[in-house]
């Protein structure tokens, strides 16, 4: 153990000395994590209630709030590097919760070459970032937010709508023309292949939102307004009759061998809920680990887990949100339940220890790394045991 005590990283922090106590953050926080102390009128953040959406960060006029994920500086750094790389002056900022793939984005905004910037909730994008991007020579900015009632952080999408309205007015006055920023909304939902559906009702049984309706005549139908795109029904459909926009099973299937080919043994594939931990902007650099982001741990699929082992993964790690942080009505816990059962099956063929389900919180930026280190050691130990034999 190292004697050095590193300062623990905090996902969001209010710097008291800079805070003007204006309470804007408090009024915008969707989770009532920010309060004003009645005696001292200090603004206090309860990190346990904080869901790390970044809305307070982007709204603070005094720049008194720090976030370790996607702060304005690191987003601008990314832009500086990405602009020549993509050779484009069009920036598409999208919430990863509702962003389709590249061709989907192209279609949606009618752009062909663009700099992609995928963030967990566009609510964390400040006016400053947009203006700085324009100052950097970005000519066209498109923002893709979630449909308002689909926003995982409740206020991120509506707030972005108001910001774009105000910014567009400002930019028009500055001579950038009308609608300098294009805002669109989207959500990713379940789709049924009726030819494959066997009307068993499993989806209705598992869905936490009551979206699937099974009728004895007419079979299954989905109330898409109710669907929140967690993918649990897709992962558990006994007939492979369901799929999820942008998270199609075949797309994930194709990713598995491609990612595993990029890395060295001991190869570890991570299936991670997109809300559990926010990844670094410049992608993965570990020589042994690759990650497949999923809309929620509910989309983790037994079929994909075994496929990963078949294609040479030595370990599969599933990173879900802790139950209290799950943005999907307890789907994380439901996923944990079936993964546990499935692990028993893998145990029977000697792969049980090669599958690990863990919960990591976006509040703890080092949580996933810790899990990965421990899991990596476990996988190496299994490997060397085998060699001894």
């Amino acid at each position: 153990m190292s004697q050095q005590v590193a300062e623990p990283q905090v996902a969001v922090n209010i710097k008291e000395e800079q805070c003007s106590r204006c309470s804007i953050c408090r009024s915008l926080c969707p989770f009532e994590a920010i309060t004003k102390d009645a005696e001292t009128s200090k603004i206090i953040l309860d990190i346990e209630k904080c869901q790390v959406c970044g809305i307070c960060y982007s709204a603070c006029p005094a720049k008194a709030i720090d976030t370790i994920y996607y702060d304005c500086g690191s987003l601008l750094n990314y832009l500086k590097k990405a602009k020549p790389k993509y050779d484009s002056d069009t920036l598409v900022i999208m919430c990863k919760g509702s962003a389709p793939d590249f061709s989907g984005v192209e279609q949606l905004f009618g752009v062909s070459n663009f700099i992609p910037l995928s963030v967990p909730c566009v609510g964390r994008i400040s006016e400053e970032l947009i203006l700085q991007a324009i100052a950097m020579g970005i000519n066209k900015i498109c923002i893709l937010a979630c449909d308002e009632d689909y926003c995982r952080f409740e206020r991120g999408s509506p707030l972005t709508g108001r910001r774009v309205l105000a910014l567009n007015r400002l930019l028009e006055q500055l001579g950038y023309g009308r609608e300098a920023i294009t805002l669109k909304r989207n959500s990713l939902k379940v789709k049924v292949d009726r030819d494959l559906c066997i009307s068993c009702g499993s989806c209705a049984f598992y869905c936490p939102y009551g979206a699937p309706k099974l009728e004895s005549v007419g079979g299954i139908s989905f109330d898409l307004d109710a669907c929140r795109g967690c993918g649990l029904c897709v992962a558990l459909c006994p007939a492979f009759a369901l799929d999820l926009d942008n998270w199609e099973k075949d797309r994930i299937l194709a990713l598995i061998p491609r990612l595993l080919a990029e890395i060295e043994p001991p190869k570890i594939l991570v299936f991670r809920c997109q809300w559990a931990v926010f990844p670094p902007l410049d992608g993965e650099s570990s020589p042994n680990v690759r990650t497949i982001e999923l809309p929620c741990a509910g989309r983790v699929d037994a079929f994909h887990i075994v496929e990963a082992f078949q294609k040479g993964a030595e370990g599969v790690l599933i990173a879900a949100c802790p139950e209290e942080d799950c943005r999907q009505e307890g789907v994380s816990a439901k996923a944990q339940h079936w993964v546990k059962a499935f692990r028993e099956r893998l145990k029977q063929i000697g792969f049980g220890d090669r599958l690990h389900f863990c919960t990591v919180s976006r509040r703890d930026p080092e949580g996933l790394d810790k899990e990965l280190r421990q899991f990596g050691q476990r996988i190496e130990a299994i490997g060397s045991q085998k060699e001894k034999k």
Partner: protein
């Protein structure tokens, strides 16, 4: 539904080890969730993986049948699929396994599951419970919709045995006393007088093994 549980994979591997080309037949029928295409596909992946560790290369063909117990449907769906198939691994209940065995008398058919009972699953706990013994002489109308033949450990027909403690069975303290459940239910329904009816011992010799409806 018929409640089935997958056999230990070692046992399945052992049963299919003499064969190379094996058809894994799922069943979309009454088990919940159905042991359909997904279950068949995942089982094939697991067995492939386990086979490789043992130096055995299986060739699996994977499909799912609407109802394996329906001999007409199963015969018509399967007949064109059997080219080169050396054995069938069935994900149906015992009825489905036997249906395929009857359709293909020269082919080994291996059950992938153990069939347990006719039961139901609670949504939250994932617990499966026996509900019907298919006795052929249903008395649910007189017992408040709760079956003592199945749920009373002693299968008593005329009320509680007297051994229950705190509503639990003396044979198994986890298990509710079926007759206490029946009493409470009949009380709610205002039909406690049904308990005064005498029910003669069952005639087990009359249990049907073949019916012509």
């Amino acid at each position: 539904m018929i409640v089935t549980i997958l056999k230990p994979l070692d046992e399945i591997l052992d049963s299919i080890s003499p064969y190379s080309k094996v058809l894994i037949a799922g069943c979309d029928g009454c088990t919940q969730p159905p042991r359909g295409l997904r279950e068949a596909k995942t089982l094939s992946q697991l067995l492939e993986l386990a086979g490789k560790l043992k130096g055995k290369d299986f060739q699996f063909k994977v499909l799912s049948l609407v109802k394996q117990c329906d001999s007409f449907l199963t015969a018509s769906e399967l007949k064109s699929q059997m080219d080169g198939v050396e054995a069938v691994l069935s994900l149906a209940c015992g009825v489905g396994v036997q249906t395929i065995a009857e359709i293909f008398p020269d082919l080994p058919v291996i059950p992938a599951q153990n069939s347990h009972f006719l039961g139901q699953e609670d949504r939250e706990g994932g617990i499966l419970e026996d509900r019907c013994s298919a006795c052929g002489d249903c008395i649910l109308a007189r017992t408040g919709g709760i079956c003592p033949v199945t749920r009373c450990a002693k299968g008593l027909l005329n009320g509680a045995c007297g051994g229950a403690r705190d509503g639990k069975c003396e044979m198994d303290p986890e298990r509710d006393c079926a007759w206490e459940l029946i009493y409470n239910r009949l009380e709610r329904l205002g039909k406690l007088d049904l308990l005064k009816e005498y029910r003669a011992p069952r005639n087990y010799q009359a249990k049907a093994w073949r019916l012509t409806p």
